[in-house]
């Protein structure tokens, strides 16, 4: 770490103790790194690695029962750990600023955006009201918000997620802090918005010479933005160094494993040819939501318009798109969790779009869905064994037989059959997602719909679940409809993809064709926004 630039933030041998009874004694230990002026240092780690704990320690915002037990945190010449809470409060905003993952919760919902920046300036500077206003408007311009005057008078809920995150960045940078801590600032954003926000952070930070401590789990984002990287695992510093060294010639096994788990964005060459009759056939599916009516003006939202595609046995068809593109609506219409407004859905000979829910019961068995959030897709009050056998029992399979099958399925998804009597909260996110897959497979479906099924998982776990899905697919000849916003995942697992924007399929074709030679503007923009697209990671 022989950097010529003086360190703005210097962390030495930091250890943070957790309260007794936690899963480990120290949240983090032996953490040492520097962040120089005008430098972006990324803390990279999976969930539970302690990366957010470090940022909270620097901000002096650790919860009451968690405390720094060893080490040193210096901001320039100041030892942050020796300051009183009042002194720290002075520093926050002036010298250190922070942006969070979820801008909606970090902004005050009952104050206009302008007033929130104004308050900050009034608190920390001696500027007059007119000066504060012009400075705020200039800052809005700097973070490339459209119509600064209108934004000034808007409430947070009137803005989009990307705009809110820009407001947060404006708030963080308006006092020209020396250090900016960004805790997963783009994780909640769409990929095209993420690309814009990352570019913005980079530009502003270069112009102003701000030191940035950037916390992320996303290898692509690291490749895009970092100067140097600190890799964390379970609270321990695994590796640190310049981005190119760490990502292209990693020294440690854990880093190598992380990098190998990042799916390459180039789709592999396809060898299969799927000639069987489609298992699932969707024809001109439409879903329109209407609101208002009685007293308000009637408003219609087209969530999906004329969506058509086939999925054949053994084939994986992907639907990619950003939030609000209608990809989940399509999945929910197919499974009749909501009723489509128009169009046809055929599961071989069965018409899924017509008929009552009672009549659909038999067909429902043949088409199963795995949801995004592993923490909410299993009933917290139901033992996992009961969850897995619930489907078969609904269709008249005797309990003992269903339980025997559940044990087989647990082996199939690489979990021990002995844990069937446990409750979901005893499992990690990845394990829960395997249980959800086992629950779906318990009904021997012909079609499996994965609605962002790996999006909430850490990259190493994600790789395992994807591999598991591929194995299961080849064993059972499943037709899989894979819905994702993650282009890298889509590139690896999908044979064909549909790209959706605002409810319309703008492009479809073989994954390799779409990714390597996109025809539609939006597809091109989407692909160009994928973080770290140009970066060559170390070969696995």
């Amino acid at each position: 770490m022989s950097d010529p630039r003086p360190a703005v933030l210097s962390v030495r041998d930091l250890a943070v103790a957790l309260p007794p009874g936690a899963d480990r004694e120290l949240a983090v230990e032996h953490i040492s790194f520097d962040v120089g002026a005008g430098e972006i240092v990324c803390l990279l780690g999976e969930s539970g690695s302690g990366k957010s704990v470090i940022s909270f320690a620097v901000m002096g915002l650790l919860p009451d029962n968690v405390h720094v037990s060893a080490g040193e945190i210096r901001l320039g010449d100041t030892n942050l750990l020796a300051l009183t809470p009042a002194q720290l409060r002075e520093l926050r905003g002036d010298e250190i600023a922070m942006i969070f993952q979820e801008p909606m919760t970090a902004l005050n919902p009952v104050m206009t955006c302008g007033a929130q920046l104004d308050e900050l300036l009034a608190e920390h500077t001696l500027l007059s009201a007119a000066e504060r206003r012009s400075k705020t408007l200039a800052m809005f311009e700097a973070v490339k918000l459209p119509e600064p005057e209108r934004i000034f008078a808007s409430f947070p809920h009137q803005l989009s997620g990307g705009q809110r995150q820009r407001i947060m960045i404006a708030m963080a940078l308006i006092l020209e802090p020396k250090l900016l801590i960004a805790d997963e600032p783009t994780t909640a954003l769409d990929v095209t918005t993420q690309a814009e926000v990352l570019a913005l952070i980079k530009t502003l930070q270069r112009e102003r010479g701000t030191a940035v401590l950037f916390i992320t789990h996303d290898m692509g984002v690291v490749a895009e933005i970092a100067d140097r990287v600190v890799v964390l695992q379970q609270g321990k510093q695994v590796e640190a160094g310049p981005k190119h060294d760490v990502l292209q010639s990693p020294q440690e096994d854990y880093t190598r494993m992380l990098i190998a788990a990042v799916p390459p964005i180039d789709p592999p060459v396809l060898h299969h040819h799927f000639a069987d009759a489609p298992a699932l056939s969707v024809h001109k599916l439409c879903k329109t939501y209407s609101s208002g009516g009685w007293l308000q003006k009637r408003r219609e939202t087209r969530a999906a318009t004329l969506v058509s595609f086939d999925v054949r046995p053994g084939e994986t068809v992907g639907i990619v798109g950003e939030s609000g593109s209608g990809k989940s609506t399509v999945a929910r219409c197919i499974t009749r969790l909501i009723d489509p407004s128009q169009g046809e859905v055929h599961l071989r000979d069965v018409e899924l779009h017509a008929g009552s829910h009672e009549a659909l019961k038999a067909a429902r068995k043949r088409i199963q869905i795995v949801f995004q959030d592993p923490y909410r897709s299993l009933d917290p009050r139901q033992r996992v064994g009961e969850a897995i056998i619930e489907g078969p029992v609904n269709f008249g399979v005797p309990r003992e037989q269903a339980m025997a099958r559940a044990r087989e399925l647990m082996t199939l998804v690489r979990l021990s059959p002995d844990v069937l009597s446990r409750y979901p909260n005893e499992f990690s996110g990845g394990q829960r997602q395997r249980i959800s897959i086992a629950r779906a497979l318990a009904l021997d479906p012909e079609v499996l719909i994965c609605d962002e099924a790996v999006s909430a998982l850490d990259v190493s776990v994600q790789a395992q679940v994807l591999k598991l899905l591929e194995e299961i697919q080849s064993k059972l000849n499943l037709a899989i409809l894979f819905i994702t916003h993650d282009l890298r995942v889509a590139a690896q697992i999908c044979d064909r993809v549909l790209v959706m924007q605002s409810g319309i399929v703008v492009e479809e074709g073989l994954t390799r064709d779409v990714f390597l030679a996109p025809k539609h503007d939006y597809t091109r923009r989407l692909l160009a926004s994928a973080p770290g697209r140009e970066f060559r990671f170390a070969a696995a």
Partner: protein
């Protein structure tokens, strides 16, 4: 998970205090006949308005006179207050528990229906709004007047105004639970609606309902005492805390103990039930978990 939850509940100070007080009260009520009591309705004209701890010669229903210490004194008719308070505990506890059970059962059923089925919701909740507009005491007077003063009338009269409150709570719980992905998952594996309600929705709303149940119980005990005190509850010869206090009101300046003892029992019972509820809420409701953990 279950064991950890139970342990957390048992470690809570408020739960412990409330549970111990209630256990003592239940014991007193159950064992009232063998705890040195006499017939609570028996009048001994010789011993009227005796102060507590008086050593008196007591003539019982069998016309036998024996020395007896009047622990809590006697009222203006010469009835033993100690016996009346202990037997009154039975009424209070029965009313509290019965109202809570009735209100929870009916309210939960309505709440599940209103929360899960949109069409039912529109009609049912308007009925509930109407019910909530009727003052509880007024409804009780009407019912007692119509059906006569019996224990079951009092229980129904107190339970009916509580039903809309429970319904609203359960409905709001169901509204959020029905949007959970695990409900959608259950639908897509073909689980029938009644099974979804019983297996998934109900177990996930039980904790707040238990807490609500304790509050219903506490307010029912209080309301029963108020009705009795106003002369709208059970007939005055039946020993309830409210009845004892109502009779004590006339002679309050000369014999205040008639009021104190049932009052103290009433206050402690309501306090214990409320503390139990607060403790359960702190330990069972995830929103309060963090606060509980730091204690």
């Amino acid at each position: 998970m279950k064991n950890a939850t139970i342990q957390r509940v048992l470690r809570n100070g408020a739960v412990r205090f409330g549970a111990i007080v209630l256990a003592v009260l239940v014991t007193l009520a159950a064992l009232a006949p063998v705890l040195g009591t006499v017939d609570p309705a028996w009048l001994d004209a010789v011993n009227m308005n005796q102060p507590p701890m008086t050593k008196a010669d007591w003539t019982g229903p069998d016309n036998q006179t024996a020395p007896r210490t009047l622990l809590m004194g006697t009222d203006s008719f010469g009835r033993d207050i100690y016996s009346r308070v202990l037997y009154g505990t039975r009424i209070s506890l029965v009313v509290g528990v019965a109202v809570a059970v009735v209100a929870l059962l009916i309210g939960t059923f309505f709440g599940l229906m209103a929360g899960y089925f949109r069409r039912v919701d529109a009609v049912l909740m308007r009925v509930m709004d109407g019910l909530m507009a009727i003052p509880g005491i007024l409804l009780a007077i009407a019912l007692v007047a119509a059906w006569g003063a019996q224990l079951s009338t009092v229980i129904i009269a107190i339970a009916v105004p509580e039903i809309p409150r429970v319904t609203r709570l359960v409905r709001s719980l169901v509204l959020s639970i029905r949007e959970e992905p695990y409900i959608e998952a259950a639908i897509s594996i073909g689980t029938p609606t009644w099974k979804i309600l019983l297996r998934h929705v109900l177990p996930n709303s039980i904790a707040p309902m238990v807490v609500q149940g304790t509050y219903v119980c506490a307010s029912a005990i209080l309301l029963e005492a108020i009705l009795s005190f106003l002369g709208l509850g059970l007939p005055s010869e039946i020993p309830t805390w409210g009845n004892i206090m109502a009779e004590a009101r006339v002679v309050f300046s000369s014999a205040p103990h008639n009021m104190w003892f049932p009052g103290i029992f009433l206050a402690f019972t309501v306090l214990a039930v409320n503390l139990l509820g607060d403790g359960l809420r702190d330990t069972l409701d995830p929103k309060f978990n963090k606060r509980g953990a730091q204690r």
